[in-house]
Structure formats: C-alpha cells, structure tokens
C-alpha cells in the first residue's frame, strides 16, 4: 500500500487537492450535503483528515461514494473550494490504489453504467439495470413495482440502439483508455 505522504502528494499535486488548505472547517459542506448522515466522515472531516495526511483513512472511507454530485457544498463553500471535484479525485485515487470502501455499492453502479457506454456508445436504463442486478439482485427486486410500471408504459427500452460508427467510437475509447494508463 502506498504511504500516506505519497498519496497526499498525488492528491495535492496531480488532482489539485492543495486548495483544501484554504478550508476553514466551517462545515457548510457537511450541513448542505443530502447524504452526509450516511458518510463515515462528512466532507469537512474528510478534508481535515486529508490535510493532516491521513490519506489511507480518507481513501478507504465511504464518504465520496455517497457524493451524488449535487454541487450543493460547492456553491455554499465560503472559500470557493471545488468540493465535488475533489470527491471525484478521491474516488479515482481509491480505485487506483485499491483502497475502495468494501461495502459501497457505487463502484459497481458506476461500472454497470460505464460498461454499456464502452460497448455500445450509449446506455439504456435496462442495459445499466441488468448489469447492476447481476451483482445486487435484491436492490432490483425491491424495485420490481417500478419496473412493472415502466414496462406497462412502454418505458423500458429492451433493445439497445448502438451508435452508428461503433468501430470509430471504439477506436476513440480504446485510445482514451490507453492514454489513461500512461
């Protein structure tokens, strides 16, 4: 596992996390967060930990996986810290350094969304739900009434309509993923 100091350097320098030194710990972010109550640490605490260098604790927290990208904190922050963007950075770092919170279901949710994009260029609700259902069938069963309702109103797109130049698109995506590794 990479040490705290090196992780902090990556967060601060590669992902511009250094702006969190401006945080005054007012807690506006945690107060405005719709899902803060589900988080191991609210954003305020998370940034306090990161600043003090406890990066392994930060990256293995469930906090950023509960961030729904509502940007409520970002517009409330009196120090103009782009909090949502830092949550994205911390998610990417957690994945890269294999510290992802083991119980969070969001990495699988994101994967279920990203895979059909790579394959077809687009998603349909069904293409995402089927993939996700494979790993978390109970979550889907709990929503069977909704699925029934959507089907009845012809809102479940069973067929995937891939983009036309799928060969070209895949070349672009594969190149992007290759560049990603560099």
């Amino acid at each position: 596992m990479m040490d705290n100091e090196s992780l902090k350097t990556i967060f601060f320098e590669t992902y511009h996390g250094e702006e969190i030194v401006n945080c005054i710990q007012c807690g506006s972010c945690s107060a405005s967060c719709p899902l803060a109550s589900k988080m191991d640490f609210g954003p305020r605490q998370l940034f306090a930990l990161a600043r003090e260098g406890f990066m392994q604790d930060v990256l293995s927290a469930n906090t950023m996986w509960f961030c729904v990208s509502c940007y409520g904190c970002t517009v409330k922050c009196p120090r103009d810290i782009s909090i949502t963007d830092h949550m994205y950075a911390l998610k990417k770092m957690a994945i890269k350094h294999k510290l992802t919170h083991s119980k969070s279901k969001m990495p699988m949710m994101y994967k279920s969304f990203s895979d059909p994009v790579k394959k077809f260029g687009k998603i349909t609700d069904t293409s995402v739900i089927f993939r996700y259902a494979f790993f978390h069938p109970i979550d889907i069963m709990k929503n069977s009434r909704l699925a029934f309702n959507l089907a009845k109103k012809s809102r479940l797109d069973i067929l995937i309509h891939p983009i036309k130049n799928l060969i070209g698109f895949k070349k672009v995506i594969n190149k992007a993923l290759e560049l990603e590794k560099e």
Binding site: P34, L35, K38, F66, V68, S69, C70, Y71, G72, T74, V75, S82, T84, Y88, K91, K92, I95, K105, M106, P107, M108, M109, Y110, K111, F113, S114, V117, G121, K122, I123, T124, D125, I129, Y132, H136, D139, I140, N143, L146, N149, L150, K153, S154, R155, L156, D157, I163, K164, N165, G168, F169, K171, V172, I173, N174, K175, A176, L177, L179, E180
Partner: protein, 281 residues
Amino acid sequence: MKYGFFPGCTYSSSAGYKESTEAVSKILGTELIEIVDWNCCGATSYWSTQDITAYVLPARIMALAEKQNLKQIVNVCNACYSTLRKAKEKLSKDNKLLETVNIALAEEGLKYSQQVVIRHYLEVIVNDLEPDDIKKHVTVDIKDIMVAPYYGCQLNRPWGDLDNPHYPTMLDRLCSILGAGVLSDYSAKTSCCGAACIMPYNKDCLPLNQRIVSDAVNKGAQVISTICPLCQLNVDASQLKLKLSKIPVLYFTQLMGLAFGFSEKQLGMQKLIVPFKLAEG
C-alpha cells in the same frame, strides 16, 4: 433560430420529454438539429472513475457538433448539460489535456476546437425568447394549475451564472408567462433527488424525495415541474413508496404544451407514473 441538439440517452424512453419537446420547439421556432451519431456523455460514472475518458466522451459530442457546423448545443438533461459544460470549461484551461483528448478523437478523424456553446433548453426558452414570443402561443388557460417549479441540481450548480444557485427563478418566470400558478415559496426547488444513488441506496434516498414531494403538496401545488429526466424519474417513481398524496411530475415542456393546446396524449403524458389528474383545489 437553429440550435444543435444533444438529446442524451434517456430522452426517448422518458415520460414524454421527447414528444413534448418536439411539439413545443416546433411552435416556438427553436429548431433543434440533432447531433449526428452522438454518444453518451459519461455523466458522473466517468467523472468518478476515469481521468481522460471522462473528457473524451463529451468532447466527441462537441466535436461532432462542430463538424455539423452547429454553434450551440442544447441539452434537456441537467446531467448532460453539466457534463458537457464542465468538460468545455476544464478543457479551455488545460492545453495538455485538450491535446490528449484530441489524440483520442483523431482515431475517428474528429477534432474538438472549442467552438461550441453549451445550453439547456429551459434557459434557451427564457433567455433567447421574449415573453411575448411565448405568450402569443398560449391558447389554453392553465391558471388553475398550481406548479411547484423543481430545478434539481446540475443546471445552476456549480456555476450559478444562469440564475441564483440557491434560489433560482427561471422556471418560475416561465410558468407565470404561461399563465400557470406558481408556488412562490417552494423551498425544495433545488433539493437533490438522489440521482444515481437511488438504485443502490433506495431507502436512503426516499427521504430526499419525500421532502421534494411533501413541500409541494403541503404548500398547495398540483403538479411538480422538472427540467431533467433523472429528476423526473426519481420524484415520480419514489411516490410509489412514499405515503403521501400523489402529485404528478411534469416536464416543463409538457406544461408548455398544455398551455399551447396540445392534448395529454400528444405530450406523452400517459407515460407518467403518477397520472396527470388535477386535484380539486
């Protein structure tokens, strides 16, 4: 007026967004020209997991629009809007990233040259048209429809330059122009619906939707009006589980369509989960 149009993945299977947007744009003369062979913008899934691909997906859409000589890209989904706009803004400040993105796009003979403006259809209607351009098409009196204008998150946040990010009024104004009643104190208008978290964490996201619905119901609204397909689905579908009075969740384009004299069927409103039926009041 001609605009490039990025419908996004959920547009055609949503509860009448496509039908109503097509109907309304024809009446208003805001011609929406679909970007040929667009792809998914990637949304939060890609921002959360990929450094470069998250930019390549929206950049491909913008590059295709440029190839079609479209100067503006109109979105109807808040997530698409914010993804494209975020990519555009970050790429304008980072030459190295822009170069990398263009290396990937070159595989398909495309190039993104930062020539497009990113718009949302609500904001196009309110900012590019005069109130009278809209009012003159109103043929049905909808003053008895009391609307709770619901903005969701990713139109006004994080930027806050289109409208007040804490308490926007753009949709309120549009409702007034249409002659509908507007809840002036709808405090949940920018609350989050739970977005993609709603599937894995349904139980945790229900209270978020409870607030959006109960605030509208308790203050006397008869419909909630939305501007994003994910917001619409979440607020509409959550009501299957919430023990509250039901309130229909309409797209702003459906509300416009009703005022312009279209039938509910023409606006795809039979696809709503909570049926459109006005409560007595």
